[in-house]
């Protein structure tokens, strides 16, 4: 079980990142209650019990991954990548479309997962494997090539599903590498250019409803129904919360279902309505602690792989929080990005658990014995 045989239990407990795990668990529990409040009198009433199961599973997965030496995972990453790409291809070819896109891999017991979420972890590992060299020497273009190819293959498969928001959430991984690597300005520009080229590709793949979303973001009052409606209702929910909130299961926007998807994408709006600014300050504070702790882990990692992994996780989480939170307060367009650790949904929760497990693994192993 323990992938670091020389470690004793006491030592392991000492190095385990209790602060990060604690912050994450608190956010998860606040999210769990909010999922309950948002669904208990709707047709999604079973979401709460399901989310309990996912949360327990996430704790188990987090602990398990913490025990695995991240270096093993990094070296295994090409294999994981191959399995993931096969699954993505299989979904694309075989799965029944749900709401016009093919994302879900059916599992036994009626559950289903989004492979694309887990592919973020695989991409993190792949990038760590191929780009860690950039820590010590100036890399040439061809050093980046394997990582870039593996990255874009996955990216393309997810775009094809189509799943705009998940593919977007992969970009921070690439950005992190470019940001941290010791590369020439020329290559840096080249990488930035390559990423910039993705924008028209993404725009072309936008469905009409997604273009409406951007339009709705730009002028929500013009379109009371549809996308502008969602944004307006989200703002109203947040504003109604005031300083101390309407109280648990008391938010009219949430309970009377004016707020769209209050247990998934707009869970932060529902939370803001019922817990107020005070609750928001606590949740954002916990996220902040979490991110700063991960950044600290990245700084103290014993090898470039560790730093890249931790920083990748931090970037992905920050991206999610920023995009989701910005959407709720109408500073950014509506995207289907869930809020990590809070939104209902197993795939994202498990993915975050694995990521945090890897970060924990990096932290535990920061000292070379």
């Amino acid at each position: 079980m323990n992938a670091v045989p020389t470690r004793g239990g006491a030592r392991w407990r000492r190095d385990f990142d209790w602060l990060m795990a604690g912050a994450a668990l608190l956010v998860g529990i606040l999210g769990l209650f909010q999922v309950y409040s948002a669904t208990f009198n709707t047709k999604f009433y079973s979401a709460f019990s399901q989310h309990v199961v996912w949360l327990v599973l996430a704790i188990v997965v987090f602990t398990a991954v913490s025990h695995i030496n991240y270096r093993h995972l990094v070296s295994l990453s090409p294999v994981l990548w191959a399995i993931g790409v096969l699954l993505l291809a299989a979904i694309l070819l075989l799965a029944e479309p749900v709401n016009g896109s093919r994302r879900w891999l059916p599992l036994p017991f009626g559950l289903s997962i989004q492979i694309s979420e887990f592919m973020k972890v695989v991409l993190l590992l792949v990038v760590a494997k191929y780009c860690a060299g950039s820590a010590t020497k100036m890399l040439r273009l061809r050093d980046f090539l394997p990582a870039a190819l593996l990255f874009f293959a996955v990216f393309l498969l997810v775009v094809l599903q189509p799943d705009l928001s998940t593919s977007l959430s992969m970009l921070p991984i690439a950005v992190t590498v470019l940001f941290l690597s010791r590369i020439s300005k020329k290559h840096w520009l080249l990488g930035a250019l390559a990423l910039a080229l993705l924008v028209p590709l993404l725009w072309a793949s936008l469905k009409p409803y997604q273009r409406d979303r951007i339009a709705g973001f730009l002028s929500p009052e013009e379109a009371p129904l549809g996308i502008g409606y969602q944004i307006r209702q989200s703002k109203i929910a947040v504003g109604t919360g005031g300083m101390w909130g309407q109280g648990f299961v008391q938010g009219s926007q949430t309970q009377l279902r004016f707020l769209p998807t209050p247990h998934t994408d707009f869970i932060l709006a529902a939370f803001a309505e019922e817990r107020g600014f005070a609750g928001i300050a606590i949740v954002l504070g916990l996220y902040y602690v979490l991110l700063m702790r991960i950044a600290d882990t990245a700084r103290s990692a014993r090898d470039p792989e560790g730093t890249l992994l931790a920083m990748g996780v931090a970037s992905v989480l920050l991206f999610h929080i920023m995009v989701n939170g910005g959407m709720v307060v109408n500073k950014l367009p509506v995207t289907g990005l869930p809020l990590p650790l809070m939104s209902y949904g197993g795939s994202n929760l498990l993915t975050v658990a694995i990521m945090l497990g890897i970060v924990n693994s990096v932290r535990i192993r920061r000292f070379v014995n």
């Binding site: 820590a135 109203i236 009219s252 009377l256």
Partner: protein, 615 residues
């Protein structure tokens, strides 16, 4: 920091710091946004959330009933379902489907929404009132599709007597833009009903109630979750008229198939007992919401069914003026017993031959015979002797030439010609021949039927002209505690002159006079006939046109000695006053049954009901 710098991104520590700065900025930005929305703008969003979940639907107040003097209903209200639309939350596609499902003209619906938005109204705009079973079935089946439509209980105006008394009662309709701009209707919302004519218009504010509202908590799909508040509606107040539906009904029976008007007054106080005008219309069709074509048809009908002939139309009064001219002669001392005229069928005056209606002539007549047999030549001579100024003074004394100020809208004043009027109007001097025709109520002389009733009634009372009222003084004091009944116009008339004129008008009906059709055995009826030419006799006979026929008048009162009722009947192109006298007689017959000291009998009730149709 660590001892293993060779393997780490030592040089990247600055970049890690950059990440921390960026992340901190993101969190500060988010926190600031939440602060702005949740704390700074909290009130605004709380109000928006309240509007989200609180739905307010109006509850209609019943309009006051309009009752006849015995409390029988002329206008009342019944509950009817109304479909209202929330314009802010509908779409063109839905609107089209709703309009066609409810048989509404989509262009009119758009116009209504447009008008409503001009007045800042987007919610609860009335789409259709008094929904049929079919409309209900259509909306119920699609209530999840058409969430913008609300069904509310409204109040529908009902005129159970249909066209009976419609000109006096009037009708209601949606307030027009012009009406909404009036100070009187300042507080009215777009889409409110207001009285458009008659009593409904005159006493609109008394009859109008105040709508209330119901507040519900609704969820996002408009399902009512809970009732949270109610503002009760205040119903409008009932209004009792002086109209007697039985007299009203028999008046209208007398006008069936004719054009004309009947006005019955109590000369002792001016109360209007009946006011009919024909042709008429069914006010219920105004309530149902007129189609444009129907409205245009009514409005442009050459027979002018919308016109209340009793107060809004004028005709040459004809010989009905003669008792007034007689009064002028007596009071000025001209028409003494020795003032006689020899009627040989006409009079030469100022180079023109003026005919009497009796070609063979009446022989030598004094005032009583001249009135009884309506001798024109006598009045030509009397009129010429008195002069136009005296004629004008006495015509005005009797109430001609000015509005009676009856409490109904849009009354017209009629006209009494005078020298001043002539000069002002045409810059021409008064010609003596004009005095001749005014003496028999022709020429420029024009009067409304209510003026005819008022003039003769006041004369019969011995020179007391009470302002006609359709709402009694008692009812008026309820409406306005400070109400003072208007003072009657009083003229001092010598007792013997009054006796002379009553005697003359008694002869008209009961002697060898022109109004014998009005005779009744139960009560002594007095009166005066009038037949006013529209064109010259020659032209009328030559053309044979129905609309060139003479207008027929009869004004009668009863009992002769102490009048309790005066009735004026006008038949437009009625050819002969004979027919008008019959209309008055029929009314007086029913009046006898209904006389305050006589109990209301079943037979009199049937008269009204058989005509009105069962409510």
């Amino acid at each position: 920091m660590t001892a293993f710098g060779a393997l780490t991104y030592r040089a990247s520590h600055r970049r890690l710091r950059l990440f921390q700065v960026f992340a901190t900025a993101v969190f500060v930005g988010l926190l600031g946004s939440f602060w702005q929305i949740q704390v700074v703008d909290h009130e605004r969003y709380r109000e928006q959330a309240r509007q989200n979940r609180i739905k307010t639907l109006p509850t209609a107040a019943a309009r006051g009933n309009i009752l006849d003097r015995h409390g029988r209903s002329i206008a009342d209200s019944e509950i009817a379902l109304t479909a209202m639309i929330d314009a802010a939350n509908t779409s063109a596609a839905n609107l089209g489907r709703i309009a066609s499902g409810l048989d509404l003209d989509i262009d009119r619906v758009w116009q209504t929404l447009q008008d409503a938005s001009d007045y800042g109204r987007f919610e609860h705009i009335v789409l259709k009132e008094d929904l049929s079973q079919r409309d209900l079935a259509f909306l119920q089946a699609r209530r999840h599709t058409f969430r913008e439509v609300d069904l509310v209980e409204g109040m529908r105006r009902r005129y159970p007597a249909q066209q009976v008394a419609v000109h006096a009662t009037g009708y209601i309709g949606k307030a027009s833009r012009r009406e909404l701009a009036l100070r009187e209707f300042l507080l009215l919302d777009f889409g409110s009903d207001v009285g458009k004519s008659g009593i409904e218009r005159q006493y609109n504010s008394w009859l109008t109630g105040t709508d209330g509202s119901l507040q519900f908590i609704v969820d996002s799909v408009g399902r009512s979750v809970d009732a949270v508040g109610e503002v009760g509606s205040v119903p409008g107040r009932n209004l009792r008229l002086t109209i007697d539906l039985d007299l009203q009904a028999v008046s209208e029976l007398g006008l069936v198939g004719r054009k004309g008007a009947v006005v019955a007054l109590d000369p002792r106080n001016g109360e209007i007992l009946a006011m009919a005008s024909a042709p008429s219309f069914d006010p219920n069709q105004f309530v149902a919401g007129f189609q444009d074509a129907e409205w245009r048809a009514l409005n442009s009908d050459p027979a002018t069914p919308l016109l209340n002939r009793a107060i809004q139309g004028t005709w040459a009064i004809g010989s009905v003026i003669k008792p007034i001219i007689g009064l002028a002669g007596l009071q000025t001392g001209v028409a003494g017993p020795d003032f006689t005229a020899h009627c040989a069928g006409g009079l030469n005056y100022g180079g023109h031959y003026f005919r009497c209606h009796k070609r063979d002539g009446h022989g030598t007549v004094a005032l009583v015979e001249a009135i009884a047999q309506s001798c024109d030549v006598y009045f030509y001579q009397l009129g010429v002797t008195l002069g136009i100024d005296v004629l004008e003074r006495y015509a005005r004394l009797a109430g001609f030439g000015e509005r009676t100020n009856v409490d109904l809208p849009d009354e017209v004043p009629g006209l009494v010609p005078s020298v001043r009027w002539k000069v002002r109007r045409s810059l021409q001097p008064w010609r003596p021949g004009e005095t001749v025709v005014v003496s028999i109520g022709q020429g420029a002389m024009a009067a409304t039927p209510i003026q005819a009733a008022l003039a003769i009634g006041g004369l019969a009372m011995g020179g007391v002209w009470h302002q006609p009222r359709i709402v009694s003084d008692g009812q008026m004091r309820l409406i306005d505690p400070d109400y003072e009944p208007p003072e009657p116009r009083v003229a001092t008339i010598d007792r013997e002159h009054l006796t002379t004129l009553r005697e003359a008008m008694w002869q008209v009906v009961n002697g060898y006079g022109t109004g014998r059709q009005a005779r009744l055995s139960e009560v002594e009826v007095c009166g005066k006939t009038g037949t006013a030419q529209r064109v010259s006799n020659e032209l009328r006979l030559r053309s044979g046109r129905a609309d060139f026929e003479d207008d027929a008048w009869f004004v009668g009162f009863a009992p002769c000695a102490s009048p309790e009722i005066v009735v004026a009947a006008l038949l437009e192109n009625g050819a002969h006053s004979y027919y008008a006298a019959a209309v008055v007689r029929d009314l007086l017959q029913v009046w006898l049954l209904n006389r305050p000291d006589a109990p209301l009998t079943d037979s009199s009730r049937t008269v009204a009901q058989s005509f009105a149709g069962s409510p």
